[in-house]
Amino acid sequence: MLLSLNLNSLLNAMPGSIAQGLIWGIMAFGVFVTFRLLDFADLTVDGSMVTGGATAVMLIKAGVSPWIALLAAFAAGMAAGFVTGILHTAFGIPGILASILTQLSLYSINYNILGKAANQAISVNNYKLLASLRYVNSSGSDRIIFFAGLTAGIVILIAVLYWFFGTEIGQAIRATGCNESMARAQGINTNFIKVLALMISNGLVGMSGALYAQCQGAADVNMGRGAIVIGLAAVIIGEVLFGKLCEKRKLMFAWTLLSVAFGAVLYYIVYAVVIWLRMPSENMKLFSAAIVALFLSIPYLKGKYGKKGVKRNV
């Protein structure tokens, strides 16, 4: 069977994987903000991804410009993040539980956004969508415009995030994530900061959901299932593989975000290889979880290993 594998077809599948990876990269930025900067395991994303997608699809179907729909998806995602933030800060529900509660409730909300349907199709034949698998596979200028636009979008997003996390309020988010007590001692309203970071994070996730739904040609009430794992995988693969390259560079934060986007792309490339090798894709979930567990454990194991080395040197 291996003989029948054709390297060309793998290469041909790459543009699609890269496009999917870049769109999920936006989602991974969101995960990066909560998981890495704020040190908050936010599971809202499984739901807010759908909220963003559903909002965008319904608006586009109602005749709204896809660009405005994208902004609306960002806002819808922010609203979801706001709820998690309030549940956590104002009502004292532990973070992970608060996010699970929001995620759960979002199922009903998303269902209602989708007009009491589980699935709303949006065809690239009928609307001028921002993203579509069709553009990826077309041979004409659509493809170039799409990839150029997506890449430019990612770069702009990184620039905006770089700028934002350099401002006083952005720094406050990072400080809160590093040491909450210390941040509070510095006069930072950590509750406000947490809500804000969750809103930004889920806004990004909602935006990614909007692009993703257009890409797939439908918003589905289940489309965010397991999103957090893909987001985490992107963040962690990016950090582990490119972390060293980013260290001590100028604009290190921007490079780190870029590596997160690369992490998402890599995730989809690996998946494309799995499909190309014609392995039974049923095992993909086990594989994703194993990858994330492996890469999550690396810093810990490294620490252990590193310490021993230091002792020996002494």
Partner: protein
């Protein structure tokens, strides 16, 4: 020195990542994927073109499996050795369906079989050129966002629908339970096909002046609750072809049978588990019909954009003997008992 070691470590990690792909996914290589790799490398009769067909199935599920099997059987009969199936399962995730269909398009397969709604939408997004056939899809207009439906899609898509004749199902319910007061319609809200059937079924009930109540579960955890509520308030229950409920017929049966409330099912699998009777379509049959459509498109050059969506060729009235006996329901002669293989 230390830098070196770190680099080696990173390299080792990368190779572990690669290995885990092979280990995790290759362990039961090919056993469950029916991609029919060429069995005999012998004949090199290159006169006939060998067709490669990508199959994207939403999830492991008996009905969907049957449709895929019917499709493959039809094409194997018609094309013999000259067809190769690349089977991929999306594990119930829209994301995966996109990746899979993208790989098919990149692979330049000759035709894509999209088994269920999400794969169809992903395939439709991925290509406007490669012919796509759907199966196990209830309503193509809804799934593909086509406003003025004419029976064919007008684009590179056609296929078969798994819609059982709902009006006949409703007639069957009234035939078996003429004294029914309120019908409870149970389905999973995450399934667009079920909602569509529930809506149609409710219309037919209303036309006959029968009251109905809808009970929806968001996921499998809620099935027990809605079933318990339904048996309190209704005297007959109807379940459409719902994949989520189909997986929990045992739980539904334990509630409905205990409450002596009969269930009319949308398909045979559900009826076998918890139903009194069903008007059955065979997913194997619609898969087989889709296979014949594929042959028309690939070999006879039929124009897929004008091919009308086909429906199940045969419907059979079937009943579950064990449950009918327990409830004391008398079944007319033209029903066939469902074979329970023990």
């Amino acid at each position: 020195m230390k830098k070196m070691r770190k680099k080696l470590f990173a390299l080792a990690m990368a190779s572990v990542m690669g290995m885990s792909v092979l280990a995790g996914c290759g362990s039961d290589g090919g056993s469950s994927s029916g991609n029919g790799s060429s069995t005999s490398g012998g004949d090199s009769a290159s006169g006939d073109k060998k067709y490669v067909i990508g199959i994207c199935q939403l999830v492991e599920h008996e009905a969907l499996d049957q449709a895929t099997k019917g499709f493959e059987d039809a094409l194997k009969e018609l094309l013999g050795e000259n067809v190769e199936f690349v089977f991929q399962n999306a594990q119930n995730e829209q994301t995966n369906a996109g990746t899979i269909c993208n790989a098919f398009v990149a692979d330049k397969v000759d035709l894509i079989l999209a088994n269920a709604t999400s794969p169809l939408q992903a395939a439709a997004s991925a290509t406007a050129d490669i012919p796509i056939l759907g199966t196990s899809i209830t309503d193509y207009a809804e799934a593909l966002d086509i406003a003025d439906w004419t029976g064919a899609t007008g684009v590179n898509i056609s296929g078969t629908s798994d819609l059982a004749p709902l009006d006949e199902q409703e007639k069957m319910l009234l035939e078996l339970f003429p004294d029914v007061q309120t019908v409870g319609i149970l389905y999973c809200s995450a399934e667009p096909n079920s909602a569509y059937q529930a809506e149609k079924f409710a219309e037919y009930l209303t036309a006959d002046g029968i009251a109905y109540k809808e009970y929806t579960a968001a996921d499998s955890n809620e099935i027990q609750t809605i079933a318990s509520a339904a048996v309190q308030e209704c005297d007959v229950i109807y379940i459409p072809t719902d994949n989520t409920l189909a997986a929990y017929t045992e739980a539904i049966n334990n509630i409905c049978l205990a409450a002596k409330v009969p269930v009319i099912a949308g398909e045979e699998g559900i009826c076998k588990g918890c139903g009194v009777a069903t008007l059955s379509i065979s997913y194997y049959d619609i898969g087989y019909a889709t296979g014949k459509m594929a042959y028309e498109v690939l070999v006879n050059g039929a124009d897929i954009s004008t091919m009308e969506i086909q429906y199940a060729p045969n419907v059979t009235k079937k009943y579950n003997a064990a449950i009918c006996e327990e409830l004391g329901v008398t079944i007319p002669d033209d029903y066939v008992a469902i074979v329970v293989e023990e």
